[in-house]
Symmetry: C2
């Protein structure tokens, strides 16, 4: 696997810090939101004297409570349709390994979460991109684009909804269009919904699990990482009504023995997180997003769609090459002894040459810091030798 554009920047960010500069990290998906106290307290109170393996599919009590959680948001599943995994990462890997043979293909709208590449390499699966565009706010590409790349080796489509990196929220209509393609070609639909709880502007999330008649095709991927801001517990899960997929995934799960016990205790307890927690988180993110989108669009030549979900946005900058700009701002620029780290969008495209003017910005900083970061970015765009304005 090649090193990602973002990882190539790490030494430059470290160097900037060594020079005493403040670096605003807009490049990562690690929220600064506190983990719910109810989850941390459950871990502290865990009575077990032996921290033992759990069931390979995850603790039954946790799976039952997760099923109740899903039922509460309109997704009718039972605990036997859930497999607890070591983070959303493993949910994706197990799903691919259970359904797609080496050298078969999965279609993914790009820009996409760069680690899908890593999971596909691990599963021996080939990723086939179709391109969504900033001019449509990264909406689902039209059905014809999917048809164009479907071959006898195509086994499925991966979507991330709300989307990382674009923040785009697929509508019910888009999901139904996807459903038609899936049905017509008898594909799997891998629906990564780890940002489900982050939907803005009154928009509601439509889960792929609620596509009628596709019960055997849809595999939902989920995680507690973002929902409860506890990325480090490494607990996710896959959900499918396809018994054969669950049964095959369980065999991979048995080989790795069990998901983390502490994390499962945290995950189970987190399901009791009070509604007030989510209201505060919502208010915080919406304020950050509104501030960020406005600030970005006020910069000359910058194009930033308004993301309806998650906590990312992909932005077009008036620069020759966003990879170079992201390096330059860390290594050759400072404004009031501050600089900014962003993720060049080239790492989220599989088609060479795309996203060269785009970066992904995560709004995981408090508003005061975001403001300073935007001020710094605005000054940098004026000073950058490769600016195109």
């Amino acid at each position: 696997m090649p090193a990602s554009p973002i990882r190539k920047l790490v030494p430059f960010a470290e160097e900037a810090k060594r020079k005493g500069r403040k670096v605003y990290h807009l490049n990562i998906g690690q929220p600064d939101i506190k983990t719910p106290e109810v989850a941390r307290e459950a871990v502290r109170q865990m009575p077990d004297q032996v921290i033992a393996y759990s069931h390979s599919a995850g603790n039954e009590s946790y799976r039952r409570k997760l099923a109740t959680f899903y039922q509460g948001i309109g997704i009718q599943v039972d605990h036997e349709e859930i497999l607890v995994t070591t983070g959303g990462s493993e949910a994706i890997t197990f799903s691919l390994m259970s359904t797609v043979n080496p050298d078969e293909e999965v279609i993914v709208p790009e820009p996409f979460y760069a680690n899908y590449n890593g999971f596909s390499v691990a599963a021996g699966v080939k990723v086939v991109p179709i391109t969504s565009d900033i001019s449509s706010g990264f909406a689902l590409p039209p059905m014809g684009e999917f048809e164009r790349v479907i071959t006898p080796r195509t086994r499925g489509i991966i979507i991330c909804n709300p989307n990382n990196p674009t923040g785009y929220l697929y509508s019910k209509e888009e999901l139904e269009t996807l459903g038609e393609i899936v049905r017509k070609h008898d594909l799997y639909l891998f629906s990564d919904e780890v940002y489900r709880e982050f939907c803005y502007d009154g928009e509601s999330h439509f889960s792929a699990m609620n596509l009628r008649g596709l019960e055997q095709n849809v595999i939902m991927l989920d995680s507690v990482s973002k929902r409860y801001s506890m990325c480090g517990v490494r607990v996710g899960n896959l959900v499918t009504r396809n018994k054969e997929v669950i049964s095959t995934a369980l065999k991979f799960a048995q080989a790795r023995l069990s998901p983390p016990s502490y994390g499962q205790v945290a995950g189970e307890a987190a399901l009791d997180t009070p509604a007030s927690y989510f209201r505060e988180v919502y208010d915080e993110y919406i304020e950050r997003r509104n501030f960020l989108v406005k600030a970005l669009n006020q910069m000359p030549g910058v194009v930033c769609p308004t993301p309806k979900g998650a906590f990312y946005t992909v932005v077009r900058l008036p620069v020759d090459d966003a990879d170079k700009f992201a390096k330059w701002i860390l290594s050759d620029f400072e404004y009031k002894n501050q600089t900014v780290m962003m993720a060049p969008a080239s790492g989220f495209y599989s088609t060479p040459g795309l996203g060269t003017q785009e970066v992904r910005i995560a709004y995981v900083l408090q508003k005061e810091e975001l403001a300073l970061a935007m001020e710094t970015l605005a000054e940098a765009l004026k000073a950058y030798p490769g600016r195109t304005l």
Copy 2:
């Protein structure tokens, strides 16, 4: 992947319990030993308000302390030669994926830890067995046996030392023989040393990391699961002086983001476990082992080598088929309303037809329970219709 012989027994064990029978679990590697208090307390005291991703290679503080631990037992490595993984399982998977291409081969002395098959399937790697025999106490097969199966596609050899399932402890001489083969054919040596701390009778463990001149070939696999009886924290690590392997493994590690944060805190704190803990554990296991080996060898027709390490033994029973016997004892037998669950050894052999008279017994129960389990087994062997004595 086919279901393992042990998993096929689970419904019969459940049925026996439903009938009110006491089932002694001699089939599993989950010790009953308490997790060190220092590890559990560190988790309770963890101050982080956000349970965040760690470094993909694991917390640096943990890797540094692990390096010091290894140095203390004579393995000279530094923290950059260590990658923290999600259990020993992931250490094996990452090692294989980083070094062996799909359809290439690794040689494994059988009987071997059944999950090596699962990891190999996940990595697309073919396992080639060579057979060790109960008559030699499961010693390393002679060099000629390795030579016989080495092909241009052979990339490495996996050993587990002390061994699961046999309890065999490889001598320094055996390791050096392996080293010669590895050197001659320029292979990788994957050395699973998760049972390193369980060596008996004054025997000392010789780590593959100390084979001279093979610094680029040896990858050591380790885990906190057995050492500190905390299988559920899911923390292991791989160690190698081969920088290219560490660098490739790190890319797979980055794709899955990070190992569990709680588990790493437990693992780091566990390195301060007092010596008295290990003395007690040693005394406990040696007493169980001595009792078990004696009890088994006193049963007519039973052959049980004396394992020098780990907490397993592979035993030959005077039965027509150990798979059938292991099922029969659960479903058709009881003695004082008790029965026994054992792991048929056929699941640990890759060559069809081997191990049909053998079972693996784990001595992870207290002596009083072991005594009742042995009494039950002895009676069962008298009553079993397929007995061969």
